[in-house]
Amino acid sequence: MKAKYIIGGIIIVVFMIWGASAFFKTTIQYVTIEQARNSDKTVQVMGKIDFDDVNYNTEDSRLEFAIYDAESESKTNAETISVVYYGVVPGNFDQATSVVLKGKSENEVFVADQMLVKCPSKYQGEGEEGYQDITKHNKATNKDGA
């Protein structure tokens, strides 16, 4: 009985160390734009795209743009950071409300290796075109009822 608890205890301790080591080495932190600029680790950052500053180079598939704080209404006075992304421009990039980027800062430029584009969702709930209004209306009335 006693040996059982000792072995169990050892296993728990090992897992805690193992977990803590993985936590600090491999997990991805969600940071603000300011923190992303000053961090030398791979992080995840979210922001709105500054559409006045998008540049795509087809030769080496390099997309350059800037993002600013997702909480801000406009880019003036908001935290911004330049982004470089190698790869194909996602098809929904132009309609993106915001992007989630995974990558690392290098000399104040955020080099993203993964990009998740957030769009007004059509996956669930929202109808399209003419029927959007009806669904929205129903949602509103439903809220009143509930």
Binding site: A3, W18, T26, I28, Q44, Q124
Partner: protein, 783 residues
């Protein structure tokens, strides 16, 4: 919101009958047997309602009733019969209908074979059914739009795939089945009788494991074949939410084998059965509630059902813990045989490893939720996080599974084992930590695994006859290390992994044949373990040793990648046409074959879909993953606005303007005359290429070009390729002077994935083994 009367009436009636049935079973369980008839009848009516609901939703789909929001959102008139069947479970609401219908039917298993556990188990089961029905009242599949659109939005193009038609029902059979061991375990706690619930729950736990494995594999295969990113597993929350209950079910199977054999682990099994099901609900919560919407590539939307999900989750955890704490002192469990050389210990170790890995995945999947509450910056686990656990775990699985089939239940006690254990574990810990952590500078996990591996091997080999039985497996172990050395595999953790996997494959292969064919019913474990070993090899081979080549192929040209010649002939349609195919051919040296990966923009998903083409060979896959088709501007010629100049070699062209005119004799034609000044070596000439548009009697428009010649020998010409009247611009081509390039080029990655077929072969064996397990345990349970 307006409601569809028959549909929502069915939900309401199902809820009422389920409630009556639950209460009546409770009264029956309390000794009031006069309620039993009512309970059974109410349950029959509830099942009837569920089946009607299922049939009615199909009726709405096949009658194209787009006034129903769910039908509108997931189907349209052009959808084939087969995919309309699948549209039923394309969204959340439909999957709840599927789930509750399956659940209702599986309830009869408890009714028929539940014996002393039946009544309370049916009460617990009624709360499970109530869970889905409550969700449906808030998120009704029968909700109406408020108008009748002429057509629906259609099915998500990614789901136009036969594998995706069967994947959800398979997963949901697994989810629904998990409620049977749960209900029996709860009932056992309530009536304080632990004698035979395991026997009764066993086959259905096997089916849960089978279906969750099958569902995960189907989903993985679909992702590999459809999504074009080249992998089959990404540790995404959606995948994890069915992976976790699968591993808990596997752990429970190991615990149940022990309990059936020796009466040990009674408490553990109760808890695992209960929490296995609770984790199914938790998986539903994390994937359906929208809590992970910023953390996953899947689209999660908050639909306002969180309160129900959290409520039921809390309810089940509370009930399980309260009942367990009340009864734990009264559960008479036999002690476990901890003999290291006994089969029971290896089963126990297997159970713990499976359970722990399930918990590890659960923890990392939940990390964003945990860190949101406890820190300022939430964190999410990366694929690297999961892999840093999966690799050492796989090595440990492999080592325990090597000796497992050779051991018997009695066990064996070697002389001085305590002293030997202490010496071997301390010395291997010193070497392991020294080597891995300080010298090779890698993760602590490998130091731990190395220590355990060496200690385990030393301990096992102390039992002299095991050495003899393991000689072939040890041979494979050594041979794999040598092969790794020859092939220049330098990552020691991969070598450790590959060598342990081959060790355990050979050992299980040998023992598997001792059961086949006459004692096949006992071979379930061997088949599963052997398949698992093959899968481990396949996973590492196809991911760590995959290579890729990026190709840029202009239209009409041929490029080489690996031993293939690949040419690109353009696209079948425009990129905006759903399922648009790329026209490729590849040549392996024995003639050209067609390959049709797809690349198209989906308006519904608001993104570019890239369906790969997979060239399957017996020993590897070549995975054609299209990235992009780039239009090449040079192909269309030179665009000039009025007054603009363009210099090419020693020619200087200036566009002076164009005139449009009607031809008097033909009313339906129009001509454009462009005026182009050409300066060359000091001489100037004016050229007037003409383009005539005419419409014939059938309304078809034709273009006739009249190019103008120029140059020293009049060997060059200029043509109007196109007119952009809105910009006042003309696009010129200069045949003879400038060659017209291809209109576009394809950018594509070809990935070579060695031994990936071992993954699929392994998974088929896992499914087969679990099925054999079911047949064996069913004959014990159904008496």
């Amino acid at each position: 919101m307006s409601y569809d009367v028959p549909g929502d009436l069915l939900i309401f009636l199902a809820l009422v009958f389920n409630l009556i049935s639950g209460v009546a079973f409770f009264m029956t369980a309390r000794g009031n047997s006069s309620y039993e008839n009512l309970a059974r009848k109410a349950y029959n009516y509830f099942t009837g309602c569920a089946i009607l609901m299922f049939a009615y939703l199909y009726y709405l789909f096949f009658s194209y009733n787009f006034a129903i929001k769910y039908v509108y959102e997931y189907s349209d008139r052009s959808l084939s019969f087969f995919f309309t069947l699948a549209a039923f479970w394309a969204g959340q609401e439909g999957t709840y209908v599927l789930w509750v219908t399956l659940s209702a039917l599986f309830g009869y298993i408890i009714l028929k074979y539940g014996d002393q556990y039946r009544n309370y188990a049916m009460v617990a089961y009624a709360t499970v059914n109530a869970f889905f029905l409550t969700l449906m009242t808030s998120l009704s599949p029968f909700a109406m739009l408020g108008g009748v659109p002429p057509d629906g939005l259609g099915l998500n193009p990614l789901l136009h795939d036969p594998w995706m038609v069967v994947h959800p029902p398979v997963i949901f059979i697994g989810y629904a089945m998990a409620a049977i061991p749960f209900s029996l375990a709860i009932s056992a706690l309530i009536i304080n009788d632990y004698s035979s619930w395991v026997k009764k729950a066993f086959p259905w736990t096997a089916i849960t494991a089978l279906m969750l494995a099958g569902g995960n594999i189907l989903g993985a295969y679909w992702a590999y074949k459809t999504l074009g990113w080249g992998g089959y597993w990404a540790w995404d929350p959606v995948e994890n939410s069915s992976f976790i209950p699968w591993f808990i079910a596997l752990a429970l199977i190991h615990g149940m084998i022990i309990e059936r054999r020796s009466g040990a682990l009674k408490r553990t099994n109760i808890l695992m059965a209960a929490f296995g099901f609770i984790l199914v609900i938790y998986g539903t919560f994390i994937t359906r509630s929208g809590v992970l919407s910023d953390f996953s590539v899947h689209s999660f939307v908050d639909l306002g059902i969180n309160i129900y999900l959290i409520g039921f989750l809390a309810f089940y955890i509370f009930i399980t813990l309260i009942l367990f704490l009340m009864r734990t002192a009264k559960i008479e469990s036999k002690p476990l045989n901890y003999n290291f050389y006994g089969k029971e210990f290896s089963l126990f170790a297997g159970m713990n490893l499976l359970f722990l890995f399930g918990i590890v995945v659960l923890f990392w999947t939940s990390l964003p939720i945990l860190t949101t509450y406890f820190t300022n910056n939430p964190r999410a686990a990366d694929v690297a996080t999961y892999n840093s656990f999966a690799l050492p775990f796989a090595i440990l699985y492999a080592l325990f599974l090597t000796a497992a089939p050779l051991l018997n239940y009695k066990g064996f006690v070697p002389k001085n084992w305590k002293r030997k254990l202490i010496i071997s574990s301390i010395s291997s810990a010193v070497v392991g930590f020294g080597l891995f952590y300080f010298v090779l500078g890698t993760a602590i996990s490998f130091a731990v695994v190395f220590t355990l591996v060496i200690t385990g091997l030393v301990m096992y080999l102390m039992k002299s006859d095991l050495l003899g039985q393991l000689k072939w497996s040890l041979g494979a172990f050594v041979l794999t290390i040598l092969i790794c050395y020859v092939l220049d595999v330098t990552d020691y953790s991969y070598i450790l992994y590959l060598a342990s996997a081959s060790l355990f494959i050979v050992s299980n292969l040998i023992s598997m044949f001792s059961y086949l064919p006459s004692r096949w019913k006992l071979s379930g474990g061997q088949l599963t373990h052997f398949g698992f070993g093959l899968m481990l090899l396949g996973i590492l081979g196809s991911s760590a040793y995959s290579t890729d080549e990026r190709l840029v192929i202009p239209r009409g040209e041929t490029k080489e990648a690996y031993d293939l010649k690949i040419s690109y002939q353009g696209m079948e349609n425009e990129i905006t046409v759903p399922m648009n195919k790329l026209l490729l051919t590849y040549d392996e040296g024995d003639g050209e074959q067609d390959a049709h990966p797809q690349l198209y923009y989906s308006e519904r998903l608001n993104g570019i879909m890239k369906k790969p083409f997979v060239l399957k060979r017996w020993d590897e896959d070549l995975y054609f993953s299209p990235e992009q088709v780039q239009e090449l501007s040079s192909s269309r010629g030179i665009k000039l606005r009025e007054g603009e100049s363009y210099k090419y070699q020693d020619y200087n062209f200036t566009f002076e303007g164009f005139t449009m005119g009607d031809h008097s004799e033909q009313q339906n034609s129009m001509s454009v005359v462009a005026k182009l000044k050409v300066e060359h070596n000091g001489s100037t000439e004016f050229l007037e290429p003409i383009k005539v548009y005419e419409t014939d009697q059938n309304g078809k428009q034709n273009q006739i070009d009249f190019p103008a010649n120029f140059g020293d020998d009049n060997n060059y010409s200029v043509e109007i390729a196109d007119i952009e009247a809105s910009q006042g611009a003309v696009i010129f081509t200069f045949p003879g002077l400038m060659e017209i390039g291809p209109p576009d080029r394809l950018i594509m990655t070809i990935t070579k994935k060695p031994i990936i077929n071992l993954v699929w072969a392994g998974t088929i064996l896992i499914l087969l083994g679990t099925l054999v397990m079911y047949f064996r345990r069913r004959s014990e349970a159904l008496v």
